[in-house]
Amino acid sequence: MEKIAVKVDDLTVAYNYKPVLWDIDLKIPEGVLMAIVGPNGAGKSTLIKAILGILKPIAGSVTIFDKPYKSQRKHVAYVPQKGSVDWDFPTTALDVVMMGTYGSLGWIKRPGIKEKKRALEALEKVGMLSFKNRQISQLSGGQQQRIFLARALVQDASIYFMDEPFQGVDATTEVAIINILKELRKAGKTVVVVHHDLQTVPEYFDWVTFLNVKKIATGPVKDIFNDDNLTKTYGINYKVSIQK
């Protein structure tokens, strides 16, 4: 049987006693490129944040490769929503990417030449090397997203969580990002992406989870990405033309 990268058991998360995620059971096998889809307010970002310990669940547990998240931080990289940070912060593209190395450094230790080299490699991978000294507010939305991706790549993790990496990016960047994600999968990494554009799910991903406060379905795109599950998730009689 294949290895399970992320296992979520009976996870319930509430904001002010109102559950936003209810009794989620989820197994993400190692090496998949998975989309989490669902309507606004379905708890997609919340699920990722709860897995990463950014939000405290009121019930349930999460394990990464059969161990609690706290002991597995080094295997996990996270790309938050672009809008979650202040892009006017006085720092450069390179510096933001370097932040990805902080986890392996731990407290107090400073990043050195080795970390800088890794950050530069990651910048090159996302095609942003020439922008390394640019102040981050001077980057376009797509470029900012690439910087975030580079910061995750630098962590050299086994599992990548990404919160809407395609939001507000141009078509070129979207292609560049998805190619990098596919490369990660080829290298045996697990990639979990909160995704909005249902049309591109079959083309980009091989695994999908339907979420709307409760988990509706999870599995290979070719088996479960159908009108039935879409309707269950989005509530209305939902139909997309799926090219299989």
Partner: protein, 386 residues
């Protein structure tokens, strides 16, 4: 310059640096008003500490007062978490309540001692050289100098050790959490440093002006640099500059030192606000004007591209056709000529190859918003700098 004058300037400079460091992070975390709250609400802490220790410079008093500062932050966050009121309202509720308790305590019990409202609000920098530390018979210098010197050393050590963590948790608290750096610990660490510094600076500049020392230098530095380390350095420089120049302004006007320092902080900020190279008001206005001209230029070039008829490209007709006043047409024409984008022969304007390429690229960019196309044009044109 006398010894006392030197000591006052030294104390004021150290206070300025000690305030500028936490102040920079407060500004970046959009928590400037929290420093106002802390500086007021530590008053009851100082009063109670004074009752216990009878010494305004006692470490116990400083710790007690600093705890009131942290308590303020906790209370503001608790009230805010109920979602019944917003953060600014919560701040406005908490600190006057605590401050007023301090005012009543002073008026009721501390009338006859060396602690009055004026000193609390405005400090008494001029008197700091009189209260000195002795080791046996040896004069070790003013007490305030020791207090702020120790606080500054602690702040600098913490900044040096945790710079990376502070930067990360200020920029992206979510990533900090997922990497195992607790933003909560860093947040309260910063609040504790801000509170302790406020108490230490209190004696010199008072409750109202300490806010200015935390916020104004950092706000000025923010407009000048895109590098966090430089921002901290510049904030310290502006703080020290205002402290020393403020002292001499006070000397010259025979006025309050604290008041003069704060005025200088305001002058520095105003100067930076007007003249900062890229974020300053004048630079912004200039940039907006240039962008307007550049939009006109593209409109004009596009007109030339779309019309091959001579009639449409005659210099005199351009005024009427694009419907611009003469000055604007002239600016645009000059700009296009300067960049070799057009040729004028017998009053007929035509696009050069360069102009033609520029127009296509610019239009393509405006339609697709794809940056790669115009990367090389960013240096010459404001329009493409986002």
């Amino acid at each position: 310059m006398t010894d006392a004058q030197f000591e006052i300037q030294l104390i004021a400079s150290l206070v300025a640096i000690a305030c500028a460091i936490p102040g920079t992070f407060l500004v970046l975390r959009k928590m400037a008003m929290i420093s106002d709250a802390i500086s007021h609400s530590i008053l009851p802490g100082i009063v109670v500490g004074f009752f216990i220790t009878q010494d305004l410079n006692s470490p116990l008093l400083i710790l007690l007062a600093a705890m009131t500062g942290v308590l303020t932050v906790v209370l503001v966050e608790k009230i805010q978490k109920t979602k019944l009121v917003k953060e600014d309202t919560a701040i406005g509720l908490v600190f006057p309540a605590l401050f007023s308790i301090g005012v009543i305590l002073i008026a009721k019990f501390a009338n006859d001692v060396h602690l009055d409202i004026d000193a609390v609000l405005l400090g008494e920098l001029a008197f700091t050289p009189f209260d000195r530390v002795f080791y046996g018979d040896i004069d070790l210098g003013p007490k305030s100098l020791w207090v702020i010197g120790i606080i500054l050393s602690v702040t600098l050590t913490l900044l040096f050790l945790f710079f990376k963590e502070l930067k990360l948790s200020t920029f992206d608290a979510g990533l900090a959490t997922s990497l195992g750096f607790s933003p909560v610990i860093l947040h309260y660490g910063l609040m504790s440093v801000a509170s302790i510094t406020t108490v230490g600076a209190f004696d010199a500049v008072g409750a109202i002006l300490v806010v200015a020392l935390m916020i104004a230098p950092a706000a000025s530095a923010y407009l000048l640099t895109t590098n966090l380390k430089k921002m901290i350095g510049l904030a310290c420089f502006f703080g020290v500059f205002s402290a020393i120049s403020g002292y001499w302004v006070a000397h010259w006007l025979d006025a309050s030192i604290a008041g003069s320092i704060t005025t200088m902080l305001g002058v520095v900020f105003l100067f930076v606000y007007l003249f900062a190279p890229s974020k300053g008001l004048i630079a912004v206005l200039y940039r907006e004007k240039q962008q307007r001209i550049e939009v006109s230029l593209i409109t004009f070039l596009l007109h030339l591209k779309n019309h091959s008829e001579k009639r449409e490209r005659h210099v005199n007709h351009l005024n009427e056709h694009i419907n611009w006043e003469k000055v604007r047409s002239k600016t645009v024409l000059t700009l296009a000529l300067k960049n070799n984008m057009i040729l004028i022969t017998d009053d007929i304007v035509s696009l050069t190859d360069k102009g033609d390429e520029f127009t296509s690229k610019a239009i393509e960019y405006i339609l697709t918003n794809e940056d790669s196309l115009i990367e090389d044009m960013k240096d010459d044109f404001f329009l493409f700098r986002g």
